[in-house]
């Protein structure tokens, strides 16, 4: 496992949560606070293993809940379930295709709020939901869909810039080596 990549994703998750908690522009204009965590979970599930995906969901969920009025731990399980589902079937997914990434990101961003709300309602807490939540849900899905291919591009470039490049295959073949001198 490449730990550098995992640490890079966790750092981006940390910054994304901070950004969500401090930026108010989109909420002011369209009434929705975007959530970047599901799209990052999709990236972690498709590109990394179970350990990296678990790190992203646990850290991201706990950080998000700590800055929110959510009960602590509420966001972890929905993120993890979505990540696990994608991880299980990733061999069947054309993960390099931007369209597949978009669909997965949109589906994950739609599923996570629903699962979170389901958990929230079962914890006897009354959240602020109404008809307008439908609009928020649609925007969250669309933004999650758009963000997923962006994360793929971003982490690929980061990997190329900071990782060692794999050594290319040489044309050397031992069976064709010319041995000089006396045998």
């Amino acid at each position: 496992m490449n730990w550098f990549n995992t640490i890079a994703i966790v750092v981006v998750v940390y910054l994304a949560v901070f950004l969500q908690a401090t930026s108010n522009e989109l909420r002011h204009w369209i009434g929705v606070q975007i959530d970047l965590l599901p799209s990052l979970v999709v990236y972690a599930s498709l590109s990394r293993g179970i350990a990296a995906m678990s790190c992203v969901t646990v850290c991201g969920g706990l950080w998000l809940d700590s800055l929110s009025a959510n009960p602590l731990g509420l966001s972890v399980l929905p993120l993890f379930l979505v990540g696990l589902l994608i991880l299980r079937s990733r061999d069947l997914i054309l993960r390099q295709e931007p369209f597949a990434q978009f669909v997965l990101g949109a589906s994950a961003s739609a599923a996570v709020p629903l699962l979170t709300l389901l958990l929230l309602v079962n914890t006897n807490v009354q959240p602020l939901i109404g008809w307008f939540s439908l609009w928020q849900w649609l925007v969250l899905s669309a933004v999650g869909g758009v963000a997923t291919p962006v994360w793929f591009g971003f982490f690929d470039r980061l990997g190329q810039a900071l990782n060692y490049r794999p050594v290319g295959e040489t044309s050397f073949r031992a069976d064709r080596e010319i041995k000089r001198g006396k045998q």
Partner: protein, 268 residues
């Protein structure tokens, strides 16, 4: 599904259940400890904002500064006149309270806080401010601006506090509406539409309540959290509900919650 997947799923389910079942005090402390990891970033953001402000001040022309000082001096003189008048009223009020045996009202000790964050979830209305227990902030302290009521402090950390805004399901406010002769009591409930967060619902009004659009809504002081007389907003619309048994109204909040940058916390 492979074995590590089952193990990870089991661990996450146990973690979630364990965290959700934590006693509220332990959960609050753990939450504050985790959110403390963001303090360096909040500090960095604050310093950057401060630097940008200072740079913009340095770029302001001298003529503009002099104009602003003159304007502030005029406003200051006006407030001093009002203050002297208010002091006279206060003395009279205290004297009358003493004569009638009514307990004295103690002045508020406001402290200015900067809004450093907002709730990242769409189903809550909370903000984070840069005042905490080190500044003497306590839970349930009322929070307001010069325009009116903002909410109350719900959680206090060492350097930051969370404020629940009016319109959140966790912040209900007992209010008075109407003129001096026909005052009605009601309760501000969560907003019906998250789209327009300047509107909240006012419920539990009697069917005889004489309401009119534009009437001022102020805190009643019931419940013991919010002092009496803080402006909450104005009636925007009203209707009879429950087959005419009682009334409900829509209240337009006096404070624009989306544009909050600084708030006053009322210290005990």
């Amino acid at each position: 599904m492979r074995r590590p997947h089952y193990i990870a799923l089991g661990v996450v389910i146990l973690l979630t259940l364990g965290l959700l079942k934590l006693p509220s005090r332990a959960a609050r402390n753990l939450k504050l400890a985790i959110s403390g990891m963001f303090l360096p970033l909040f500090g960095l953001a604050g310093s950057t904002e401060e630097l940008a402000d200072k740079t913009s001040y340095a770029l302001l022309p001298r003529r503009e500064l002099v104009r602003q000082i003159e304007q502030l001096e005029k406003t200051n003189q006006l407030w001093q006149i009002h203050f002297r008048q208010a002091q006279e009223w206060k003395r009279e009020n205290d004297r009358l309270r003493e004569q009638f045996g009514v307990s004295r009202q103690y002045p508020w000790k406001p402290k200015l806080g900067r809004v450093v964050g907002r709730d990242p979830a769409n189903w809550w209305r909370t903000i984070k401010i840069d005042l905490g227990s080190r500044d003497g902030v306590v839970t349930n302290a009322p929070v307001l601006t010069s325009d009116g009521l903002v909410g109350r402090v719900s959680e206090v950390g060492f350097a930051q506090a969370q404020v629940v805004l009016v319109g959140d399901p966790d912040c209900r406010v007992a209010v008075l509406v109407g003129d001096e002769k026909n005052r009605e009591q009601g309760v501000i409930a969560p907003a019906s539409s998250p789209l327009d967060n300047t509107l909240v619902e006012l419920s539990y009004l009697s069917r005889h309540a004489k309401l009119a659009a534009g009437q001022s809504v102020v805190t009643s002081g019931l419940g013991g959290i919010f002092p009496k007389g803080i402006v909450v907003g104005q009636i925007a619309d009203f209707r009879s509900v429950g087959y005419g048994l009682y009334k409900e109204a829509l209240v337009r909040l006096a404070v624009k919650m989306n544009r909050l940058e600084e708030v006053w916390v009322m210290m005990p």
